[in-house]
Point group: C2
Chain length 204, copies 2
DNA sequence: GCACAACCTGAGGCGGTCCTCAAGTTTGTT
DNA sequence: AACAAACTTGAGGACCGCCTCAGGTTGTGC
C-alpha cells in the first residue's frame, strides 16, 4: 500500500490526482506508451512534477490500474452467484469487456512484463465449480486462462476500430473449446504456476 | 513483381542480398522494429545504401517475407492430401510453427497494418473439406481463421522464452472449439471479407 | 583504359522521448 | 508575518532512430 508517513500538501495532492486522471484517459485511448510529457501537459502540470510523484512509468501505471483488482474481484464474486458454466462465461466476458474498453488495460494484462493477474483464488473457485458440474473439461487449469486473455487481447486490439464487439465471437469459439463435451487430449502439459509467473515477469 | 528494366550492378546486387539476409536474421530475432541502422551495420553496408534499395521499411519487410507466401501455399497443398480434419489441424499447426520460429513473421501476420494473408483459395478448400466431412462446425468462415492467428500470436510471443512449444496447448483448445461436436451458437456475425480487409489494412 | 552512369558513404539535421536539477513558488507552522 | 520545508518549474543535456544529400568510389560498355 502507498500509505505515506506525511500527508501530501494540498497542491501536491491536487496535482497528483490530476496526473492520475489524465494518465487514465490517455492510457485508455492510446495505450501504455503515451509520452509522459503528454500526460503532464494534459494534467496542466510540468514534466518535473510528474517525475516527482512517479519516478518510474511503472509507478504511474500501477496507480492508474489499481482499481482493476477490485473490479475483477467483484466480477468474480458475482460470477459465483450464477450457475457454474454461465458463471465462468460471464466472468470471462466481463474481463474481456474491460480489455476492450481500455487499450492500456488490454496491454497491461496481455503483455508479459509488468502484468499481474487478479483474483487467483476466486478464479480457481469459478473453474472448480464448472468442472464439478461437468461442463468444463477436466484437463484445464487455472493457468490455461491466460490463453483466453492473451488470445482475445490481440483480437480486441485488431478489430477495435472496425467492429468493437467482434471479440465475442472469438471468445465464444474459445469457450466451446473449453467445454467438456468437446474435449480431446491436449498436447503439452499445462503451465506450472511458476512458469506462468516467469512469463508474466517477462523473464528472458 | 520486382522485375527491373536493368539488372543491378554486381556490387549493388551483392549489397542488396546482404541487406535482405541481415534483415531476415534480425527481424526473426528482434521483431519488425529493429533499427534500420543495425540492419545496415550487420550487412556491412552504410545506411544510405539501405535507403537506396529500400526507401521505406515496408519495402524491406516485403522482400524479406516474400517467400512465406509460397511456404504457406505448400503447407496448404500438403494439408489437402491428408484427411479433412487432420489436414486442417496440420495446416494451422504448421502456420503457427512459422510464427513461433520468427518473431518478425509473427508480428507481420498478427499486426493489423501491413499484413497480408496468404493462400486464401487453398485455405477455403481446407475449410470446405473439413465442413463436408462433418468435423468442422458449419458456422465457421474463412475470416474466423484470423482469430487463430491473432490468438496464438500473442501466446507465442509471451511464452517463447519460457516454454516455446506451449502455444500448441492454446491451439489445441481453440481447435476443440472449432469442432462440430462442440458447436454452440456464436454471437456476432462473422467478419465480412471487406471487414477483415479493413482490419488488416489497419483502418481507423 | 576512358568516361559516364550507377552506386556507396556517413556526417549531420530533424524530431521525438526521457530524465535532471538549480532556481523559483506555494503551503503549513509558529 | 516570517520562515522552513515541501513542492513546482522548464530549459536543457543525453539518447535514439529516421532520413538526406553532396561528394567520393566502383563497375560497365565502348
Amino acid at each position: 500500500m502507498t500509505t505515506r508517513a506525511r500527508p501530501l500538501r494540498k497542491d501536491a495532492r491536487r496535482n497528483r490526482d490530476r496526473l492520475v486522471e489524465s494518465a487514465r484517459a490517455l492510457f485508455a485511448r492510446q495505450g501504455l506508451d503515451v509520452a509522459l510529457e503528454e500526460i503532464a501537459r494534459a494534467a496542466g502540470v510540468s514534466i518535473g512534477t510528474l517525475y516527482n510523484h512517479f519516478p518510474r512509468r511503472a509507478d504511474l501505471v500501477e496507480e492508474v490500474f489499481a482499481d482493476r483488482v477490485d473490479t475483477v474481484a467483484r466480477i468474480a464474486e458475482h460470477a459465483l452467484t450464477l450457475e457454474p458454466w454461465p458463471g465462468l462465461v460471464h466472468f470471462l466476458e466481463r474481463v474481456c469487456e474491460l480489455q476492450a474498453a481500455d487499450r492500456g488495460y488490454n496491454e497491461l494484462v496481455s503483455r508479459p512484463a509488468g502484468a499481474h493477474r487478479h483474483g487467483y483464488e476466486l478464479m480457481s473457485r469459478i473453474l472448480a465449480r464448472a468442472k464439478e458440474d461437468g461442463a468444463l473439461r477436466a484437463d484445464i487449469t487455472l493457468e490455461d486462462m491466460a490463453f483466453v486473455t492473451w488470445g482475445t487481447s490481440r483480437t480486441v486490439e485488431a478489430v477495435g476500430a472496425v467492429r468493437p464487439e467482434l471479440w465475442r465471437r472469438h471468445l465464444a469459439i474459445l469457450l466451446d473449446g473449453l467445454r467438456a463435451d468437446a474435449a480431446h487430449p491436449l498436447p503439452e502439459p499445462p503451465m506450472r504456476p511458476e512458469e506462468l509467473a516467469r512469463v508474466l515477469r517477462g523473464d528472458c
